[in-house]
């Protein structure tokens, strides 16, 4: 895991350096009264003219100690900036993941068990539509319909700032703010889970051990619950870690559209303002999350599948 | 000089284990195995699954690395040969596989399947190649037209014939047949077995016939080696093995063969029971302290057994 992260960090640093403009150009964008010489002086001051390897060494050394430097735009340490928002993103991600599974697993089970039925056809159609729909289109649509037209849910932010923290109302309001972003994300994320589970069930129900179960007189619902599902859920469980990748990509759009103060929106904002330190820190964190997710998948698979556990 | 000679052949695999991912050698799958095949003979290698008989075949084909020992083909050590000369030599050794369903490429037609070894070793014009493939196809009893068909259009027995035609294309000296009929139905099995006998006589082939079925081996082979835990426990002619088995494991295998006469059921059952009991008791006579099969010793000129 460590070598992967190291390689990733070099790549990120290098790519970020290759982006047109740097933190200084970003910080003084739209301020024509700052001359080129002044900008050059600031660059020299912050070490932005050193060879990239030196800059990288400085950056990674600090990063290991949890210091990602100073945000030029927000004028505060990056770590502090991230700490304020990471909670929101984790909330959003976990909620999206839970809702995704709550929707996808029953759908996959129904479609797999009654293949070819109208319910199956409906689910498969839904699946194709959700796969084909771009998240930003769908999220905008949700925002428009439920946020503006019907006005059922708040259309932006993570909580109403007028409400006092720690009260029940505060929690309730947070949840209300989560509904639209979570639904927009999870309704589209169900695709892989439904598809996997459906295929897996169709395959599993032909297996010999399912025949054995029926021959033992196990009732049909238990055949599916105890035998088919247990076997079919394996790849889904293993896929959990990989879903994190999808969540990270999705959060960028969702948070931006719903102006939800999380890491995804910060990412877009930082790119716009060339806030180099924040961008690299964010990419590094998402990269680490993907690697951790992959490892998580491995660990989960080891836990649920006894055949791998020993091997 | 024997056509093929295995001297102390040992095949060992490794596995990665422990948190440091060290590679550890597993117990040998084939353990200092020595045997000889003479020109024109049909040698039966018999044993239960996991005894190392297929690994031995793969080692002869050069598909498994030897940890120790030599494989001499016409007196030359195959494992020491240079790759290019070895490849040339390997056209003399061909193999027939167990499963006729998976050993033929489903996307190739019969012509391409049979011509593949020819293309690897011989430069033939298309017309020559076609003629040769047609000859082979007819020789194995299939219609000359069938060379344009694909494997799924044939039955199991026919597919096995295609596999045999492919193996014969280069006129090999030695044919290794790894359980060639165990995936086939009884009546189809008879066809393939008859046919293998015919080609053996016609081409003066030497054959290593690997099987778990003592009935088939008795019908097909001249000499038999019984394998257990990677080693030979007994070797001899048909008469030696079936009429005068010396090793308990051989006796056990023979007793396990289903009895075709329903009247002798009870007798057979008692025999099995007796031999199993003996097998438990007299273990140390046949195995050393680590459970390894002891070295074979000579009983008669043709008959060897692993006894202390």
């Amino acid at each position: 895991m460590i070598p992967q992260l190291l390689l990733l960090s070099i790549l990120i640093f290098f790519l970020a350096k290759q982006m047109p403009g740097d933190a200084v150009t970003g910080a003084f964008m739209g301020k024509p009264n700052v001359s080129a010489e002044q900008m050059e002086k600031i660059r020299e001051q912050h070490g932005l003219n050193d060879p990239w390897i030196v800059q990288y060494g400085r950056w990674i050394g600090d990063a290991i100690q949890g210091d990602f430097g100073q945000s030029f735009v927000h004028k505060q340490p990056v770590t502090q900036l991230l700490a304020g928002r990471i909670g929101n993103t984790i909330w959003l991600s976990v909620a999206t993941l839970v809702v995704t599974y709550v929707i996808a697993i029953p759908l996959g089970m129904i479609a797999g068990r009654w293949t070819g039925s109208w319910a199956d056809q409906f689910i498969v159609t839904y699946n194709y539509v959700s796969f084909a729909t771009p998240v930003f289109v769908f999220a905008l649509l949700m925002l428009y319909v439920f946020g503006f037209v019907l006005n059922w849910f708040p259309s932006g932010g993570s909580v109403d700032i007028r409400i006092e923290e720690g009260t029940a109302e505060y929690v309730w309001d947070r949840l209300k703010h989560l509904v639209l972003p979570v639904l927009s994300g999870s309704l589209l994320l169900t695709y892989s889970t439904v598809q996997y589970l459906r295929n897996e069930i169709i395959e599993t129900k032909m297996k010999d051990f399912v025949k054995t179960a029926r021959a033992k007189g196990v009732p049909e619902h238990a055949v599916y619950r105890r035998h088919v599902l247990r076997h079919s859920i394996l790849p889904i469980a293993a896929f959990l870690g990989y879903e994190i990748t999808g969540l990270i990509a999705g959060s960028v759009f969702i948070e931006t559209i719903f102006s939800y103060p999380g890491l995804g929106r910060l990412f877009i904002d930082s790119i716009m303002t060339r806030d180099f330190t924040v961008v690299t820190a964010l990419v590094l964190i998402s990269g680490a999350a993907v690697i951790v997710g992959t490892m998580l998948s491995d660990i989960i698979l080891r836990m649920v599948d006894p055949r791998i556990r020993l091997g | 000089m024997p056509l093929l000679q295995l001297r102390d052949v040992t095949v060992q695999f490794t596995k990665t284990a422990g948190c440091l991912r060290r590679t550890m050698p597993t117990p040998p799958v084939v353990d200092q195995l020595s045997l000889q095949l003479h020109q024109g003979e049909m040698y039966g290698l018999v044993g239960e699954s996991g005894c190392g008989k297929s690994t031995t075949a793969r080692a002869i084909m050069g598909l498994n690395q030897l940890a120790k020992g030599q494989i001499l083909f016409q007196g030359d050590d195959l494992s020491k040969m240079h790759r290019s000369s070895r490849k040339l030599r390997m056209k003399e050794i061909q193999m027939i596989f167990q499963d006729p369903y998976s050993s033929l490429n489903p996307r190739k037609n019969v012509w391409n399947i049979i011509a593949e070894p020819l293309r690897n070793f011989e430069r033939l014009t298309r017309a020559e190649e076609l003629k040769k493939v047609q000859e082979l196809v007819e020789r194995v009893g299939l219609n000359a037209e069938s060379i344009y068909q694909y494997p799924h259009q044939f039955s199991g027995g026919q597919r096995q014939r295609i596999g045999i035609a492919r193996a014969l294309a280069l006129r090999p000296q030695l044919l290794i047949a790894d359980e060639p009929v165990s995936a086939l139905d009884v009546s189809v099995q008879a066809q393939v077995l008859n046919f293998m006998k015919e080609i053996q006589e016609e081409f003066d082939l030497t054959m290593l016939f690997i099987s778990h079925d003592l009935g088939i081996v008795r019908h097909m082979c001249d000499r038999i080696g019984i394998m257990y835990k990677g080693r030979l426990v007994e070797e001899g002619t048909i008469q030696d093995i079936y009429e005068r088995p010396s090793h308990l494991y051989t006796k056990r295998l023979l007793a396990a063969m289903p009895e075709m006469n329903p009247e002798k059921r009870l007798e057979k059952m008692k025999q099995r029971f007796r031999i199993n009991e003996e097998y438990e008791l007299a273990n140390e006579q046949f195995f050393d302290s680590s459970g390894r099969v002891v070295e074979m010793r000579k009983i008669t000129d043709t008959h060897w057994a692993a006894l202390k």
């Binding site: 033992k216 007189g217 196990v218 009732p219 | 009935g215 075709m260 329903p262 059952m269």
Partner: protein
């Protein structure tokens, strides 16, 4: 105990139903081992699965009656069938590698039929599962109880499958190729075990196999199937000593072990027809014995009771000689002529 009458099981192939089992009538008695023998595609496994109602209903059509202790199994709902399956009627499948659930410990799998058919406490179930393991010759039963199928050898798994089938003391056991996937020595052990258990329990066994050796060792009566039909039905001794139907005789002659000497093995001409191409009138074996002329077959072959308990389909067997037999007969004839 179990009476099958005129059973016809058809599978849908390209939107048409083709019978794989075509008009089978059989009776299995208590304390009897009835073997059904035939080559792949003859319909023997389809027959077994029909009895237990394990064919996918959307692709199968089953006609006729299967009467088990006064109930027609084909008329029962799945729920009613589940009262019988695993309790009074149990099955042992062919491949012990795939017939066990890979993610469930052995103990749970053996306890499962008890859970649905018997009223036992958790402790009693475990006790019974351990006893069953012991009965099928697994002496380290406490350990095996906790293990997963992949940790056991093929022979052990087959024993577990048998233990599972015996969980509720069934009256009839259907064993579909129970030893095919096993090594010879293990096969011998499993055969002995099944015989022993059958003696103890007095259950009937329907043994489905392609291996005449297994039949000779285990069966009391034998039904030989060809192309969806029973061609010969006889007590075991009759079948091996006086086989009549051409197919039975050909099959016995194509086995190497029945000789001991090294002649050519008998080869049956042609191939087993695929069920969608099968001609459904006349003697189905006729194309494979072309030297018997058409007039010597029945137009609509039926099973004839040649001797008590010995049934043979078609009359062609009266004129049938195996090529090898015929040569012998011709020699005999020429000797008598001179």
């Amino acid at each position: 105990m179990l009476t099958i009458h005129n059973l016809r099981t058809s599978f849908r192939i390209h939107d048409e139903f083709h019978p794989a089992v075509d008009g089978i009538s059989l009776t299995i008695h208590k304390n009897e081992v009835l073997a059904i023998v035939g080559e792949s595609g003859c319909g023997k496994s389809a027959l077994a699965l029909s009895i237990l109602g394990l064919h996918p209903p959307e692709r199968t059509k089953i006609e006729g009656t299967i009467e088990f202790q006064g109930q027609n199994l084909l008329q029962l709902s799945t729920a009613e069938l589940n009262q019988i399956r695993g309790k009074r009627l149990a099955m042992i499948f062919q491949d012990p590698m795939t017939a066990l659930h890979p993610l469930m410990i052995i103990g749970r799998q053996i306890e499962e039929p008890m859970k649905y058919h018997l009223t036992l406490s958790t402790k009693e179930k475990k006790q019974r599962a351990l006893q069953l393991l012991e009965r099928v010759g697994i002496h380290n039963n406490e350990q095996v109880y906790q293990q997963y199928p992949h940790e056991l050898s093929g022979g052990m798994r087959q024993r577990v499958l048998i233990a599972m089938a015996l969980a509720c003391d069934p009256e009839l056991l259907i064993a579909d190729e129970p030893t095919t996937a096993l090594d010879v020595t293990i096969q011998a052990q499993i055969m002995e075990l099944m015989k022993e258990l059958q003696r103890q329990s007095q259950a009937g066994i329907l043994l489905i196999t392609h291996d005449l050796g297994v039949v000779a060792e285990m069966a009391d009566r034998v039904a030989v199937m060809y192309a969806g039909e029973i061609v010969e039905l006889a007590p075991i001794h009759t079948l091996f000593h006086n086989p009549l139907h051409p197919y039975t005789r050909s099959l016995l002659h194509s086995l190497p072990s029945s000789f001991g000497q090294k002649g050519r093995l008998h080869v049956i001409e042609g191939m087993v027809p695929a069920i969608e191409h099968l001609k459904r009138s006349g003697c189905r074996f006729a194309p494979r014995i072309p030297w018997i002329s058409n007039e010597l077959h029945e137009v609509n072959p039926v099973l004839h009771e040649i001797a008590p308990q010995h049934f043979v389909r078609c009359v062609c067997h009266q004129h049938f000689y195996l090529p090898t037999e015929r040569i012998g007969d011709e020699i005999n004839a020429s000797i008598t002529a001179t």
